[in-house]
């Protein structure tokens, strides 16, 4: 537009717009507005501008942001349009007409419209040009009028109207918010409860973990099909994390779901479940009942990062509730353990430091450059994190904290206590809140209160009231008040939540811990400290601090042990250290009592026990004082001590025997003794009677023994020690197993248990029907053990001359074992009635050889009753003694020619008058008086042996 007139107009217009332009500079709004309403009437615009000027001053930030956004959109074309606009803005007298144009319509103007407007404008200005041509002088006046009028109108506007316009304008920039508003009225959720008229919700099985993906896919599918005009008839699809493996589809008809799911993977359309209408709200619940509300003060755990699984206390919540400021015990090493690799980079230690309170000195010393003072006196900023009173205060994302199942332990809580000792006890309420869900699930809290417990109400109106529990249900406890600030409550019953109760104990009470780390320990209350109680554990003898509510009164001491988790068991042989071993005689929770090899009882924690000693039976061997081998399982008796305790060997360790006795009560009957102090009673493999000492009745040579076999057995076993037969190869000589060979594994008096070589079987056979195989040679049992039943010399068939001759003794043929030692030879059993020397050990354990190849009579060199001296022979009779009464058996000689031996008499029961070596000296007669025929000791000639009656077994002829 090159028309000079036009230009002047423009100039004039510009002048008149000075105010506006200033506005524009100050408020971006104007630019926007102008550009949007390109053809809007100037006056209207100016009014608006003024309005806005005032308005923005009044409302401050209210609308700014929005405008800015809009403004930016328009910025780009500003440069271009500004000139245009200014030109177009030529003051127009007919502006009022256009002022009526609705903003809303303008918004929707498209380019065609704009062109049309331009044309129109052109037209109007032309019109005006003509006017101006006629009336140039009026122009100045007109401008003034215009300005005045504008100002006037602007003033006329009142504030409310302005506000409304503003709101109107803002609304129009976006879709109106269609959610609930105060004007549209809000509907309580109760009124939204579902009815049968509502669409159905179907639960559909799907692959767990794919729920969200499926919802998104279905959403895309639905949109695509909607666009293709083949809409799916489903309304909504949703998924909840709490219901894994399901997605839910809301639809009016079930077949709509089938068509929606066609071709989908990871979903099992067959498993369609109609959700009952009344469960709809639960499906969409926003809170899980188990959720713990996060409020400052509760305990939580951190689930990620360096402080994973650490306990923290909520200090504060961010405004939007997404960040939680937590107080925790920092894990810092102040960079001490960092290593620097080749490239000069720091390698942080993988192991996280132990939780310790922040230490200013250490931080300054090791990592001072990162330490800055914080806001308070005890507050620091170290490596960008804030430490207060030693605790770390850090923001954690809501997702990374765990509010459920926190279970703070007392140790952890103690750490938090450390910083602020001046504050009173632990905040049980907070712990209770943390434990809430736990208690709900298992109701453990309620078990802690039992009828009869003395409790105090901790908070609420009835605080400080003391009562006795009369009834305990899940979380409500009924108490009978025994003391209250208000006397009228006394003896009334109150129902109180379990969380509000605290148990009362007195010092000296014996209690059992029912929860926590010290579970099942018992102890004596020594101090009551608010909500916590200090007690001395019966088990560890240490102070334990627990919450009062974790205690119940107990009369017994704890015996329950966790045998499943314990490495050691009662009666185990354990090694305490390199030099001492012991046997566990008592096991309690966390503590063992160990009987050491030196006889002391030591309380030991499991950690104090080095290891369990696993010795094989072969290793656990020792010998007793008699030199016999003892093994585990053998029965031994103490030779010393006043009690002469006896018992079965449990363990053998070097010289110490751990013996379990049934007669001792203390220490589980286990006692320890030295191997040299015990003698074997029985060995494990031979089941021998415990009768001790010689069986005197069997020593009677004249006693008729009904069963020679039994006598044999009796003789044999008395010796103690192991049966010679054990582990020998034998062959069975009679019975159904005749001919079979085997090995003896176990013996008793009469029978032997044999493990057959031929088949894996153990049989029991009488010992007498065994042949012992030694180097391929089968030796009959009796001979093997020396009894030699058949081969033994027969006293009843003495070749009498042999005796009389003296030279070669037929007495005690070569095969006869020593009478005493073998102990099993029967003397003269073949003879009629009299047996000589039944069961007795003749002259003690080791009788000197009576045989010796030289006849006693002739040689006279052998003494009978040598060392023993005290052996009495033929006790029943009592009148005949042989070999002196005292220890000086040596005096009596047998077969001497009289002299000293004269004193000994040898007689049998019957007569009692037979003397051997009688007083006469050298003329000792053997046999009774009646006999007289038999003589023994040829030289004396006087001595007679054997009687007439033929009853004498010797010299009977």
């Amino acid at each position: 537009m090159s028309d000079p007139d036009q230009l002047t107009h423009v100039k004039a217009d510009d002048e008149s717009y000075d105010v506006v332009d200033r506005d524009q500079n100050e408020f971006d709004d104007d630019a926007l507005e102008n550009s949007v309403n390109e053809e809007a009437a100037q006056q209207e615009e100016d009014k608006q501008n003024l309005k806005r000027l005032r308005d923005t001053e009044e409302q401050g930030e209210g609308g700014d942001e929005d405008d800015d956004e809009e403004e930016e959109e328009e910025d780009e074309d500003d440069d271009i349009t500004n000139k245009k606009r200014k030109r177009r803005r030529a003051a127009n007298q007919f502006v009022d007409i256009e002022a009526e144009v609705d903003d809303e319509e303008e918004d929707e103007l498209d380019e065609d419209d704009e062109e049309a407007e331009l044309l129109r404008e052109q037209f109007i200005s032309d019109d005006r040009d003509n006017a101006e041509g006629n009336d140039g002088d009026n122009q100045d006046d007109r401008l003034h009028r215009q300005y005045d009028r504008r100002r006037q109108e602007a003033e006329d506007q009142n504030a409310e109207k302005l506000a409304e316009t503003l709101k109107q304008r803002y609304r129009k920039t976006h879709t109106v918010y269609r959610g609930d508003s105060a004007t549209s009225g809000t509907v309580s959720q109760k009124l939204l409860m579902p009815s049968i008229n509502d669409p159905s919700i179907y639960a559909i099985r799907c692959t767990p973990g794919r729920e969200k993906e499926l919802v998104r896919k279905l959403y895309e599918k639905k949109r695509t099909l909607d666009r293709l005009n083949r809409p799916l008839d489903i309304l909504t699809v949703f998924q909840r994390d709490a219901f894994k493996g399901y997605i839910y589809i809301e639809a009016k008809r079930p077949d709509a779901i089938d068509s929606a799911l066609v071709g989908m993977v990871n979903i099992f359309a067959r498993n369609k479940l109609l959700v009952p209408v009344k469960e709809y709200p639960d499906l969409l619940k926003q809170v899980k009942s188990s959720d713990v509300e996060i409020v400052p003060g509760i305990y939580i755990r951190i689930t990620r990062g360096k402080y994973k699984n650490d306990l923290a206390i909520v200090d504060n919540l961010s405004e939007n509730g997404l960040d939680v400021r937590c107080k925790l015990v920092p894990r810092l090493d102040y960079g001490r353990n960092d290593e620097i690799d080749k490239d000069g980079k720091k390698i942080k230690l993988k192991v996280r430091p132990l939780p310790r309170l922040f230490n200013e000195q250490e931080a300054r010393m090791y990592d001072g450059e990162f330490l800055q003072p914080g806001r308070g006196p005890r507050s620091f900023v170290y490596r960008g994190e804030e430490y207060n009173d030693g605790f770390l205060f850090k923001d954690f994302k809501l997702q990374f904290i765990q509010t459920k199942d926190v279970h703070p332990s007392l140790e952890e809580l103690d750490k938090f206590q450390a910083g602020n000792s001046e504050e009173d006890g632990l905040d049980l309420a907070a712990i209770a809140a943390s434990l809430k869900s736990k208690n709900k699930s298992d109701g453990k809290q309620s078990t802690a209160f039992q009828p009869g417990d003395k409790v105090e109400i901790r908070r609420g109106e009835q605080a400080k009231t003391v009562g006795l529990v009369v009834e305990a249900s899940l979380n409500e406890i009924t108490i009978s008040v025994t003391w209250s600030g208000d006397p009228k409550f006394v003896n009334q019953k109150l129902t109180v939540p379990a969380n509000d109760l605290r148990k009362i104990f007195n010092e000296g009470d014996h209690v059992r811990i029912v929860e926590g780390k010290h579970f099942d320990e018992t102890g004596l209350v020594i101090k009551i400290d608010g909500d916590s109680v200090v007690l001395v554990s019966d088990q560890t003898r240490e102070d334990v601090r627990v919450f009062a509510n974790y205690l119940v009164k107990a009369t017994d001491s704890s015996l329950n042990i966790d045998t499943m988790n314990s490495k050691y068991d009662i009666k185990d042989l354990v090694e305490l250290n390199a030099s001492s071993v012991g046997v566990i005689v008592k096991a309690e929770k966390g503590i063992f009592e160990v009987l050491t090899s030196d006889g002391r009882i030591l309380p030991m924690k499991p950690s104090g026990i080095a290891s369990k000693l696993q010795l094989s039976r072969r290793e656990q061997v020792a010998t007793d004082r008699n030199g016999f081998t003892v093994k585990v399982g053998d029965t031994v008796r103490e030779a010393l001590g006043d009690k002469k305790k006896e018992g079965v060997i449990l363990h053998i360790y070097k010289n110490s025997l751990f013996i379990k006795s049934n007669e001792v009560v203390e220490n589980l009957g286990i006692f320890v003794t030295n191997r040299m102090d015990v003698s074997t009673i029985t060995t494990k493999d031979s089941m021998v009677s415990k009768s001790l000492g010689p069986d005197l009745s069997r020593m009677n040579p004249n006693l008729k023994l009904p069963n020679p076999g039994a006598a044999t057995a009796g003789l044999k076993t008395r010796v103690g020690g192991r049966d010679k037969l054990l582990n020998k190869d034998v062959a069975v000589t009679s019975g159904s197993y005749k001919g079979l060979k085997g090995k003896v594994v176990e013996t008793d008096d009469i029978n032997a248990r044999i493990e057959l070589h031929t088949k894996s079987k153990k049989i029991k056979v009488n010992k007498n029907s065994l042949n012992v195989l030694i180097r391929g040679e089968a030796i009959p049992y009796l001979r093997f053990i020396g009894a030699a039943s058949n081969d033994a010399p027969q006293f009843n068939k003495p070749s009498a001359p042999a005796f009389s001759s003296g030279g070669r003794s037929s007495w005690n043929g070569g095969a006869t074992p020593s009478v005493g030692g073998g102990g099993s030879s029967s003397w003269g059993n073949a003879g009629g009635a009299s047996s000589w020397g039944g069961a007795t050990a003749w002259g003690g354990g080791k009788t000197p050889a009576y045989n010796g190849g030289k006849t006693p009579g002739a040689g006279g060199a052998s003494t009978w009753g040598g060392s023993g001296g005290s052996s009495s022979w033929n006790q029943n009779g009592g009148n005949s003694t042989w070999g002196g009464s005292g220890g000086n058996g040596g005096n009596s000689t047998w077969g001497s020619k009289g002299g000293a031996g004269g004193n000994s008499t040898w007689g049998n029961n019957n007569g009692g008058n037979s003397s051997w070596g009688n007083n006469n000296g050298g003329n000792s007669s053997w046999g009774n008086n009646n006999g007289g025929n038999s003589t023994w000791g040829s030289s004396g000639g006087n001595s007679s042996w054997g009687n007439k009656g033929g009853r004498s077994s010797w010299g009977q002829q």
Binding site: E65, D66, D68, E69, E72, Y170, R171, T173, H174, T175, V176, Y177, R178, G179, D180, S181, A182, T183, S188, Q189, K190, L192, P194, D198, P199, I201, E211, K212, E213, V215, R216, Y219, K222, R223, D226, P231, I234, L235, T236, V237, F238, Q239, R240, D241, E250, K252, Y280, P281, L284, K285, Q286, V287, D291, E319, N320, G321, L322, K397, L398, Q399
Partner: protein, 112 residues
């Protein structure tokens, strides 16, 4: 489907990537919350990265009981969260009140 960057509008529950909130705002709440360009961290303040329960709202939202129950029956179609952790900042809430917009926290603390 990177749900990492996704956030849910705390007023209407719509789930969008953070970027989209900044670039285009929330299709339901833009007129009252003005997310676009994220001035003063508006998106961070009024949307939450922590939400649970994904729900796809179709076009025929008026007929859906689920949408009504969640009070999103008048909103645009899209993906919504059933539970959203976090609350709008108080100054936003009071602004909403001035505009007669009822705000119900979607983190389960709403009572009615």
């Amino acid at each position: 489907m990177s749900s990492r960057t996704e956030r849910a509008c705390m007023l209407c529950g719509l789930i969008q990537p953070f970027k989209k909130f900044v670039e285009q705002g929330c299709p339901n709440c833009e007129s009252v919350l003005h997310f676009q360009d994220n001035e003063d961290g508006q998106v961070q303040d009024c949307t939450s990265p922590s939400f649970e329960g994904l729900m796809a709202l179709g076009a025929d939202n008026k007929a859906s009981w689920v949408a009504r129950w969640l009070r999103i029956d008048s909103f645009v179609l899209g993906l919504y969260a059933i539970k959203i952790n976090g609350k709008l900042p108080p100054h936003i809430i009071s602004e909403l009140e001035e505009q007669n917009v009822v705000y119900r926290p979607r983190d389960g603390t709403a009572e009615d």
